[in-house]
């Protein structure tokens, strides 16, 4: 029962878990983009690979900026992060669909 008293505000821990969830998601998008870029290069489609790399870089940049600027704040605006995050996954899905169609046509 010795040691420093807990000086954290009660919402620190949930905010930290949420920040970690965001980091996992951003990392997942970045990895997905890397897999897409490799698959596109393998299929001989550099344009798709470049778009994938750009999407991954944008996601990582956005996650780092959000980490610096938004946590923890009482008036957080999750929609401003959720909508672009979902948009990135939808865009990655569209690129994956394009890679699948190109693969089927070859």
């Amino acid at each position: 029962m010795t040691g420093e008293p807990d000086t954290r505000v009660p919402h620190d821990e949930p905010a930290e878990r949420t920040a970690l969830a965001w980091q996992r998601t951003a990392l997942g998008v970045a990895l997905g983009c890397a897999v897409l870029a490799l698959a596109a290069l393998r299929q001989g489609d550099p344009t798709l690979a470049v778009v994938g790399v750009l999407l991954g870089a944008t996601t990582v940049t956005g996650a780092v900026r959000a980490r610096k600027g938004r946590w923890p704040r009482p008036d957080r605006r999750p929609w401003g992060m959720l909508a672009p995050g979902a948009g990135a996954v939808v865009l990655l899905a569209a690129l994956g669909l394009a890679a699948s169609v190109l693969g089927a046509l070859r």
């Binding site: 969830a21 997942g28 698959a39 999750p78 899905a93 569209a94």
Partner: protein, 130 residues
Amino acid sequence: MSGRDEPDARRPRSVYGVGSDPDVRYSLANERTALAWLRTGLGLVAGGIALTSFASFADLSVLLDVVAAVACVGGGCLAAYALVAWRRNERAMRLGRPLPPPSALPVIVVGIVAFAALVGAYAIWSGSTR
């Protein structure tokens, strides 16, 4: 409604224009749930991309590319669902209503079972034609 002096300008208005702010821990939990759905969709998309990549790598059947395309579309739909579910849950919490059920859960279970059946059927078929 939000307990601050200045007017609440947060978006979307369909969420923040109604009710009052719930305990921030519940809002954060709702956000994490939406992120978990997003990652589930992301897993499907990544699986689809990996599958099409593997199919081209090992010169496998076009059927695998079709399965990969379906996985990518499903993943994209789940990402969109994450937004819809977040909005629905946040709105229910602000209005003090019971949370709506996760309507995508049965769909994703059926989808994954169908996906597994398709890939399994392909494995049996390709094994028997060897």
